[in-house]
């Protein structure tokens, strides 16, 4: 009864320590053009636009409103916005198409993470009564999770460094990555802690950036793209926030989302949104990904983490693997909130 839905275009801005305007408009204009060109679609043919961003990145109420200027939204358009990573805007657009309320959609996420002190700004995501007034920064919060995982024997500092080394090596062929390099685990574990047990290589850089992705239903997708990345499932869940309330070494929301899309263990590729090395390791377990699965060939969020578009970019990177014929089945994952609180999984496949 529901139409098949596919990703038919993706574009991203290079991740940079500081780039673009606070409004994002100038970054988005060429991005829309690239994503639509890849999908061979005119902007007037987009039935539904949906974006993800946060007012607290720009320090202004309604900061997403001016980004609409980049669309050229006159005559008026069908449009919506989530105050979340744009991966959830992708979900809203996907549902719109499933419901038959749109046939095509463009989803975008943007944010100038460098405008404020990001790890301090993110303290405002914590409980405003008992946690945020202490201003625990996001890196320290992640470190508390990493320590629990180490103490539980689930990860080691060496295994975390291996994730960083692999990611940075993979990122050296990704022109959109912010950091890359050939590193050894021995060298990495010899570097000082930034927030014990996390070292610099364990933490994603602060990145400015944006991403845009084009979706279409059934026939429309086939017409516009030789090899669309067909969506065989999208699911997301949220866990309670309390950092001392839940078991931070497991990710029940990711596990439940994976079960909801029947995520197979033998994917070709998984693009995981893990802003910290230990989080990739926890996610692999939570998602039940086997050793054969190629993780983050793009280098992942560890090599470029533009807030509010990095999750969408994981889905886009997974889709590109399918659209280019490099993978038959790929998954994109997005996370939101402190210590992997909220998680989304999108399963993509090639169909002949």
């Amino acid at each position: 009864m529901n139409p098949a839905v596919a990703i038919i275009g993706f574009a991203q801005a290079p991740c940079r320590p500081s780039a673009g305007t606070t409004s994002g408009v100038e970054t988005l204009v060429p991005l829309f053009h690239q994503a639509l060109s890849a999908a061979r679609l005119d902007r007037r043919e987009v039935d539904f636009w949906c974006s993800g961003s946060s007012d607290y990145l720009a320090g202004r109420a309604f900061s997403f409103v001016s980004a609409i200027d980049a669309i050229g939204a006159y005559p008026p358009i069908c449009e919506s916005h989530v105050e979340m990573d744009a991966a959830w805007a992708f979900y809203e657009a996907y549902v719109k198409i499933l419901a038959g309320e749109a046939e095509t959609a463009l989803v975008y996420g943007f944010g100038k993470s460098s405008a404020g002190l990001l790890r301090r700004v993110l303290a405002l995501q914590l409980d405003p009564y008992v946690a945020a007034p202490l201003w625990p920064d996001s890196v320290s919060v992640a470190a508390l999770q990493a320590r629990l995982a180490i103490d539980a024997g689930l990860v080691t500092e060496e295994a975390m460094a291996e994730v960083a080394a692999r990611s940075q090596a993979d990122a050296s062929t990704n022109p959109y990555a912010q950091v890359s390099g050939q590193l050894t685990v021995d060298d990495l574990v010899a570097t000082p802690y930034v927030a014990d047990p996390l070292r610099a290589h364990d933490c994603a850089p602060v990145s400015d950036g944006a991403a845009a992705l084009v979706l279409a239903a059934g026939e429309r997708a086939r017409r516009h793209r030789e090899q669309p990345a067909w969506i065989s499932g999208v699911a997301h869940r949220v866990d309670p926030q309390g950092l001392g309330e839940r078991d931070l070494t497991t990710v029940p929301s990711a596990t439940a989302a994976a079960e909801a899309v029947s995520l197979p263990a033998d994917l070709d590729v998984a693009e995981l949104h893990a802003p910290f090395t230990h989080q990739e390791l926890l996610l692999r377990t939570a998602l039940g990904l086997g050793d054969r699965v190629r993780i983050n060939p793009s280098g992942g969020a560890l090599c470029g983490n533009p807030m509010f578009s990095a999750g969408l970019a994981r889905i886009g990177a997974a889709a590109e693997q399918v659209m280019s014929g490099q993978a038959r089945r790929a998954a994109g994952h997005a996370t939101s909130g402190p210590a992997l609180q909220q998680n989304l999984i999108c399963l993509l496949e090639a169909r002949s």
Binding site: F62, I68, P76, S80, E83, Y91, E92, V95, Q125
Partner: protein, 385 residues
Amino acid sequence: MRRAAVLGTGQTQHQTRRTDVSMAGLCREAIDRALADAGVDWPQIDAVVLGKAPDLFEGVMMPELFLADALGAAGRPLLRVHTAGSVGGATGVVATSLVRAGVHQRVLAVAFEKQSESNAMWALSIQPPFTAPIGAGAGGYFAPHVRAYIRRSNAPEHVGAMVAVKDRRNGALNPNAHLRQPEITLESVQASPMLWDPIRYDETCPSSDGACAMVIGDQAAAEASERPVAWIRATAMRTEPTYFAGKDHVNPRAGAEAAQALWQAAGITDPLAEVDVAEIYVPFSWFEPMWLENLGFAEAGHGWKLTESGETQIGGRLPVNPSGGVLCSNPIGASGMLRFAEAARQVMGRAGEHQVAGAKTALGHAYGGGSQFFSMWVVSDTAGR
């Protein structure tokens, strides 16, 4: 397309400061009432969609994250919508799509604003560098457009005051309303201070703490309901930029096109004849006649005549805002959902003292930003064609 219906609604007691509750408590007051109204228990809720206006109002970045557990969202899908003042409506539309897509059977939609945590005018007046310091405040943004409407339509000056009198008296019938003023008169409104000329004090919305919630279900859930439901006949959303050359601030094209799409999808050809009651987002009194035109209830330039002739009162041809509307209660993020929920209550026959007799088809409407984001729905007491 699959059908969806409102199974139940709930809202808080709205007031300037709800110092007796936390943010979770405020939301739960509305949610618990909606679940009870729908006759639905927690295990039956498949997903939660939360709508709220700027995070700077509460000083919490993405508050749905810390609220997840209290909202009953833990372990479930949770979406956070933000489309400026239209967000309460947009939240209802997103929840409806989730049901219509067949993804979920019952979705809990929640919208709230706890404006007393800060000061909305402060949050909206933050001026970025390199701009001229000529802030005029929320009313100051809209007052010039009201002036333009009056000039364009030649509406008599007292029409704005008439809307204020009607809505505040309607609000007196609504136990949840923030402002309840049964004694208000045309003279008292016209004697109230001129804040943003031509907008007077009594013609402006209050700043409220409040929340609203709705349970939206699929056809099976609606048919299983022991109480009347509000069938969602159509939804529509449209957006245009804040400013562009040739923008019509009085009769924005995005609103007009949303309405056209809405009526068409609902199979309504003559809205004034076919709609029994309308809950329209009217934060300043003059927006009633402006939106009556924008929505197609009246020809351009003639909306004020419906108001002036009393047709928008309870008992008139098209009662507008029998709940008292935004002029009586304005928790910004929830205001749009309150319009949607009040429309549903009318066709479910559960609007209490402000029930419009025999209401079968109702409009819920919200707008936001610089008259640029529009969301609306039509609900009926029957599923329709």
